[in-house]
C-alpha cells in the first residue's frame, strides 16, 4: 500500500510482466512491481521461490526471459554487458550474505575499489572510502584485511563499498544471514539509518525480523510470483 506522498516520489524500480526460465523451471512468472525513491522494500519467500532471481534482475546481474526491468529510468534489457556494468557502477550498490570482500585488499582499498573502477584517482577514492568507514564506525579498521575482521565488520565494509558511488538503489541479499545476532542487529540499524536519510533499499531475506525492522513494504514471493504485498509498520 502506498500513501499519496509515496506516490509522488520518483519510481526507481519498475518490473513489468517479468518471466525468467531456467530450462523448464520457471524462476519468475510474470512479476510486476514498482519501488519508489526512498522506499525500503523487503522481499521474502521460501527457498527457491525466485526472490534472489528477482534481486538479480533489478541489479542487472541477470536478464529476464521476457518482460521489462527498468531501474532509474534505464531499460536493462536494452543494455549490453558493458552497459549493465556501467549501470551497476552508477546506480546500484550491493550487499551480499557472504560479504564478498577481496581478501588481498585491506578494508579501505576494498571500499575505494568501487570508485577507482570509475576512474577516480586513488587518493580521492581513499578519502571518500575513509569518510564512509568513519560514518559506519570502523575507520579504525581501515588497514585491516578481511581475514582479520569480524563478520559484522566485514558487512560494514561491504555496505561502505556499496555506498561508495552514491547509488540510487541499495540491494541487500540476506545481509544478516552470515552474522551472529548482535552483528545482525548492528547491520539492521545501519540499513534503517541509511533509509532514513533517503537511501532506497531492496532487501531479500528469510528473516521476518530483518524485514519488519528495516522495511516499510513487504513483497512475498511464491512460485515465481508476487503472492502478497503489504505495508509494514516500523518496529524500532
Amino acid at each position: 500500500m502506498t500513501t499519496d506522498s509515496d506516490s509522488s516520489r520518483q519510481v526507481v524500480v519498475r518490473l513489468e510482466g517479468v518471466h525468467k526460465d531456467y530450462g523448464d523451471a520457471k524462476a519468475l512468472d510474470g512479476v510486476s512491481l514498482e519501488i519508489r525513491a526512498g522506499e525500503a522494500v523487503a522481499v521474502m519467500g521460501p527457498s527457491g521461490c525466485g526472490k534472489s532471481t528477482l534481486l538479480n534482475m533489478v541489479a542487472g546481474l541477470d536478464r529476464p526471459t521476457s518482460g521489462t526491468v527498468r531501474v532509474h529510468g534505464e531499460d536493462l534489457g536494452r543494455l549490453n554487458e558493458t552497459g549493465l556494468a556501467l549501470f551497476r557502477r552508477r546506480h546500484v550498490g550491493m550487499i551480499f550474505q557472504f560479504f564478498n570482500l577481496i581478501d588481498d585488499l585491506p578494508a579501505l582499498d576494498n571500499v575505494a575499489l568501487a570508485a577507482q573502477l570509475t576512474g577516480t584517482s586513488a587518493r580521492q577514492a581513499r578519502r571518500r572510502a575513509l569518510e564512509l568507514l568513519d560514518e559506519l564506525g570502523i575507520a579504525g579498521r581501515k588497514d585491516t584485511y578481511p581475514a582479520a575482521l569480524s563478520g559484522g565488520e566485514r558487512q560494514r565494509v561491504a555496505v561502505a563499498r556499496a555506498l561508495m558511488n552514491r547509488p540510487a538503489l541499495l540491494l541487500a541479499d540476506e545481509p544478516t544471514g552470515a552474522l551472529d545476532s548482535r552483528s545482525g542487529e548492528q547491520v539492521m540499524d545501519l540499513l534503517i539509518d541509511l533509509n532514513q536519510i533517503g537511501q532506497t533499499l531492496l532487501i531479500v531475506t528469510h528473516d521476518p525480523h530483518l524485514a519488519t525492522r528495516c522495511a516499510s513494504r513487504l513483497i512475498e514471493v511464491a512460485d515465481g510470483r508476487v503472492a502478497r504485498e503489504s505495508t509494514l509498520e516500523p518496529t524500532a
Binding site: 557502477r89 588481498d104 568501487a114
Partner: protein, 768 residues
Amino acid sequence: MSAVWRASRAAVKRRRLQTFVIGLVVLCSTTTVLLALGLLAAASAPFDRAFDEQRGAHTVAAFDPAKASPEQLVRTARRPGVEAAAGPFGQTVLEMPDDWLWMSAGSLGVVGRADPNGPVDRIRLLEGRWATAPGEIVVNWPVDGTPGPGRLGTRLEPRGAPPLTVVGFATSMSKSAGAWVSPEQMARMHPTTAQMLYRFTNAATERELRTGLTTATAGLPAGSLGTAQSYLTLKRAFSAQADAYLPFMTLFGVLGLLVSVLIVGNVVSGAVVSGHRHIGVLKSLGFTPNQVVAVYLTMVSVPALIGCVLGVVSGNAVAGPLLRVAFSGVETGSASVGVSRWPSVVCLLGMPALVAVAALIPAARAHRLSAARAIAAGSAPRTGRGLRVQRRLGGSRLPRAVSLGMGQPLARPARSLLTMAAIVLGVTTVTLTTGLTSTMVAYGQAGKSDGAPRIDVQAGSSARGRTAPAGSDRRTERLLRSLPGADQVTVRALTKVSLGGHTQTVFANFYRGDTRALASEIVEGRWPAGAGEAAAGPAFLHQHGVSVGDRVTVRLNGKEAPVTIVGKTMEGNAQALESTWQTLFRLDPTAQAAEYTVRLAPGADARKYIAAVKAADPSLRAALLRSDNAATTTVVGFASVFTVLLTVVAALGVFNTVLLNVRERRRDLGMLKSIGMTPRQVTVMTVSSVMVPGVIGGLLGIPPGIVAHRLVVDHVGVVAFPESMKQVWHLPQLAALVVAGVTIAVLGALVPARSAARLTIAKVLHNE
C-alpha cells in the same frame, strides 16, 4: 570399476580443458624428443648394423709390395689383437675420364678380389655378378639404392689401361675400393700396393685401432705400411650431416621436456590447490591418502598417455622426412637409414613416467592435507600474500583494473614462478631460433651479399652425348667474360684425386679466375693463391685428421704434388678440397674446366645473359644459380616448427595458470562485476596479471637462448661459422625478444580473460 578410477574419471571430465592442455603439451614434447632420439639413433645405429652385417674392416691398410711379401702380410693376420683379416689383395689406381657412369674424372682405386665374401668386408652385390674373368669390373655404388641393371655392360676406358666392362655393382661399408676386378685382371694391371683388411679385438677408439695396426704390422719391414683407413672416419662421415642437426634437435628436445614437466607440475598443483574441498570430501568419504594421490595421478596420466601415443605417431611421421634431409648426399652404402623403434619405446615409457613424477610432488600435498582443513578451505577468507605491493599498486596512478591484475601473481607466488618458468623457456626457444635464423641467413648469403645474379655455365661433354665446346676452356672463359653483363668469372675443374695416407679418393676442385667470393668463405687462414696450396671445409679437415698449415700429398695421373692446407672454409664437402689451377697444372697440364660461375654486374639481366651464352656457344648450358640454401631452409624450417610448438606449449602454461586463477577468483570476479567492473576491465585485469611475469620471463629467457645459440653454432661439425655470423644480437632484436615474453603471456591469458569477462555474476554469487 574402482572408486579411484571413478573419481579420476570424474576429475578428468570436470577439467576437460586442462586435460586437453596436458595431452597437447605431452604430444608436442613427445614429438620433439622422439625426433631428437630418432636422429641420434640414425646417426650411428644403421652404420653399425650394416658394418657388422658385412663384417666391415676396422682398418683398411695398403702396403708396399716391394717391401712386404704376401707371406709376411698373411702372417699379420695371426698377430695378437687381430680378430680377423683378409688379403693381401692387389691394388692400383686407374685414371678415369670425365663422366664415366656419370661420375667425375679422376682417380679410381681398384682392388683385385676373387670373391666378395671372406672373413672381413663381405661386399654386398647390388646388381649383376662378381668379376671373375679378365676385362671385367665391379663398381662400388656408395649411395642408397642401385643404379639399375641398365648400366651393366658399360665399357669403361681408363687412361693408359685396357678397357673394362662393368659386370656388377656392389657396395662396401668399409669403402675398401672404388671398384673390384679379378686377381688375374689385377695382375695384368700391375698392382702398386697390397691391401689388407683387418678386424681388431679392440676397435672402439682411434687409439685402439692404431695400437691394433701397430701390433699387427710389427714384424714387417720398416716403411712397408703405406696408408691406413679407419672405420671410425667412415662412421664420422656417415653421421656428419646428422650430427650437424643433433645439437639443436637435442636442445629443442630438452626444452620440450622442461616445459612439459613445468606444465604438468603446474596443472596438478593447481588442481590440488583449487580442489581442496574436493580432496576433503573424498577423504571424508573414506578415501585413503594414497587413493587421493592415485586419483590425481590418474587424472593427469590419462591425457599424458594419449598425448604420448599421438606424439609417438606424429614423431614417427615427421622423422622420415627429417632423416631424408639429414642423410641426403651421404654415402650410406648398404646401411638402411630409418626410424628406429627404441626411441618410440623410450618415449612411450619415459614420458608418462616423467609426467607421473612431475605430478607426484604437488599431489603429495593432497596426501598430507587433513579432511577438515580441506573442507574448510574456500569458505574462510584467505590470508593474502604480497599485500604491501598490492597496497602500493592500489595507490598508484595505474588504472585500477591494471593494478589489480598486476598484484595477482603475488597471491600465488609458486604458481606464478612456474608460469614464469614456462615463459622463460618459451623466450629461450624464440631467442635460440631467432639467433639460428640470423646465423643461417647470413650463412646462406655468404659470398653473394651484393645480390648480383650468378649464372652457372656447364661445358658440354661428349661422354654425356652432348657437343663439347668448340675451343679450349680459356676460349670459353674469354667468351663468358666478353658477353654483356658479365662482371666476374670463376672457372672450376673437378676431379678425383688420391690423398697420401688415405685409401679413399677425394674430390678436388681447382679454380682460376675471380675467386674473391670464394675467399670470403675462409674462416681460418687464407684462400689458396698459388701452386701447392689448398683449402678445405671443417668436415674434410676433421675426417682426414689435418689442420691449417699441414701438408698433404695429392696424386693424379701417376703424378704427385705436395699441397699445403692454407685455409679453412666455412663449410665444404667432407670428401673435397679446394685448390688452385696452378696445382692442377702440376698434376695434369691438359686438364680442362667443366664449370664456370659468372657473377653479373648489378642490374644486369640474367635471362639476356643466359640467352647470349646459348647463342654464342650452343654446347654451353647456362642457368641462374638459385640463392636459397638447403641447410638454411632445413634448419630455419625445423627451428621455426619447434618454436611454434614450444611457444604454444609455453602459452598453454600461461593459459592453465590464468584459467586456475580465474576459477579460484570467480567470487572476486563476480563481486567486481557486481560493483561495475566492465567486461573490458575484467579482460585488462586478467591480461595484466601475466604482464609482469611476461616481461621478467622475457628478460630471463634471453640469456639462456643466447648461450643455447652459441652452443649450437659452435658444434655444427660440418660448418665453421665465422664470428661475424655468430654475433647476431642487436639491441632492437633483444627488445623484440622481451616483447616475445609478453606476447606468450598475453596469448596464453587472452582466452581465460575473455571467459572471465563473460562470467555470469548471478551464477557465481549464487554459488556462495
